[in-house]
Structure formats: C-alpha cells, structure tokens
Symmetry: C2
C-alpha cells in the first residue's frame, strides 16, 4: 500500500480556520498519513492538529507548503497519483475501483481539496477529478467519504499509536481511558 | 421507507455559520428530507440552504426550532427513532444494520449533531449514540458518512427535483447544464 497525503489548497486564515481544521482532523481520523496546508500560513490550525495527534495518537504529519504547484509537479514526477475532489468530477461510485487498484499496487495518493476557487491547472494536473456526488456540499464531507470508500470502512476501526486518550464505545454516555504519559 | 431529518443543536451565529451551513448542505446532498436548526436563530444560514435548494433542486426542508428538547420528546412519542452522532457512541460498523432495519420498516429517523457541548439528556434520549469512528473529527464528516452507510452509497446518485443547475460529470474541467426558469 502506498501513502496518502491530503493537500488543502487556498486556506484563508480569516475565513477557513475551522473548516481547514476539520479537513485536517478528518484526514487523520480517516487514515491519511498527513496533511499539507497551503494558502495563508496559519499556525493556529497546525497547532490544533498537532495537539490532537499528541493526545489521540498518530502518526500523522502536518506541514505547510507555500508552493503547492511545485509540490504537485514533484509528486507527479515521482509517478504518484493526484486525486482532486470536486463536484464537477466523475462521481465516486464510477471511479473508485480504478483508484483502489492504483493504490493497492503501491502508488502514493495526493488528495487535493480546495477552499477558495481552485485554479484550472489543478483540474488539468489531477489524474482523477472525483465528485462525491455532483452536488454542492462540503470539502470536509467529500474527504471523509472518499477515504471511507477507498479503505472500504476499515479506517473506522484504525488503531492509533501513542494515544493518551482513548474512547470506549458506549450506548449511552461517555467512557474514556486516559493513559499517563510519564 | 421513513423520513430522515437532521437536527443541528447549539448553533452559535458568531462561530458556527460555515460549519452549520456545511452540515445543512451535507444533509441535503446525502439524501435527508430536511434540517431543523436550533441554538441561535441565524437567518443567513437558512437563506444559504434555501438558495442552494432553489438552484440545485429538492425537496429539502429547512426550519428553525427554539425548543429542541420538546421537538425530540415529540419525535419519540410518535414512535420514531433518534440517532445521535457522537465520538463516544457505538462505532458505525457495529450498529448500522440495526438502524437500517428500523428505517426499512418505516421508522422516521432524527439524526442529531451538536455544535457546542451536547447536553447529557441527548445521550439519554437517543435510541442510538453512534460514533463515526471513536476519534475526534467533524460533525460534517460524521453526518455524511453516516448517511452514506445508511443508504449504502445510493444517495450519491440521487436525482433532485426542479433543479435549475446540474453538473455533467467530467474527467477534467467543468460542465454545467443550466435550465431556464421562465
């Protein structure tokens, strides 16, 4: 299996703080290896995501890349695959098998999700422009459902390493295990 | 089949505008019949959701309920089912079949998603407290993945009525059909 990274394009610190944080939390919870943030540099988002990883476990990489176009170009040069999530793309049920096959053969995947309007070049460079339904909704939801289909639900049972906090699933109420970090 | 409504608890106009809007867009796109907003009254969210429904099709109901506790109480009195999405609940893969059975027998579902801390009474009143993984992420993602599992992916192909705009899925680029509304 290859690695999976999420690239968040066009973050605006004034508007997108919470949505980008949700994108990052979804990337981690749904089994990606890391997130690359682009757009405006925003330390508060990076800190939130690193903090969650420190408490709930990892590994999960968070970093900022100013030059996202060079990043995508390099990714493709290495023979890896770029998936761009967009409502204009091919609907997930039609295309997921092709992507699963590429991934199971060892290709790394870069899953690109935009904030503000995504530049045309991203549509052109993407190996797959994938729609999670061709309806307007949310990049947070699109990313979660894409990863859930890719992993066929197994990611919901993923065990994280070095977790200090862990939930015990409960029908009613809250049950948490806290591990001492001494 | 029963009806499915989403109840968004504890909306704060200052903080949650975009997240609540994403929750509403996901509810519509992933096949719910409507959303009930609670917490602070926020006309801008209602307008955004109604505007998307007018352009992209429906039906999709949007309304505000001040007294969410009475709403849930009445829902249960009618013999319908309450699902509360929370990371503390039973993980989705363990519980989805029970919920699918109840739904296919005609029960209406109320899917509750919180914003700020959810009051304990919600955990107690819910027939099912469901975790979409027991990891912290996003109510937007949790709702999307829950509905996707409930409908087993069929919602991604849903056709909406009276749509003025429709996307033609495309491998690279954007293709839209706009219908005249004369």
């Amino acid at each position: 299996m290859g690695k999976i990274y999420v690239l968040r394009l066009g973050h605006r610190a004034s508007r997108d703080k919470r949505i980008t944080t949700h994108v990052g939390l979804v990337a981690r919870a749904f089994g990606a290896d890391g997130i690359i943030l682009s757009g405006e540099f925003d330390e508060s988002v990076i800190k939130s995501l690193e903090d969650v990883t420190a408490r709930w476990g990892g590994p999960f990489e968070v970093r900022f890349e100013e030059d996202w176009l060079r990043f995508i170009t390099n990714w493709k040069k290495k023979g890896h695959i770029v998936v761009h999530l967009t409502m204009y793309g091919i609907n997930l049920p039609t295309i997921i098998k092709d992507i699963r096959v590429a991934y199971s053969r060892g290709a790394d995947l870069l899953v690109v999700v935009g904030a503000e309007k995504v530049p045309r070049v991203v549509y052109e460079m993407a190996d797959y422009n994938v729609a999670v339904s061709n309806q307007p909704h949310s990049e947070v939801a699109a990313l979660a459902v894409f990863l859930d289909w890719l992993f066929e639900g197994r990611e919901l049972l993923k065990r994280f390493k070095n977790a200090k906090i862990q939930i015990v699933p409960t029908l009613h109420g809250k049950k948490i295990i806290v591990r001492d970090s001494t």
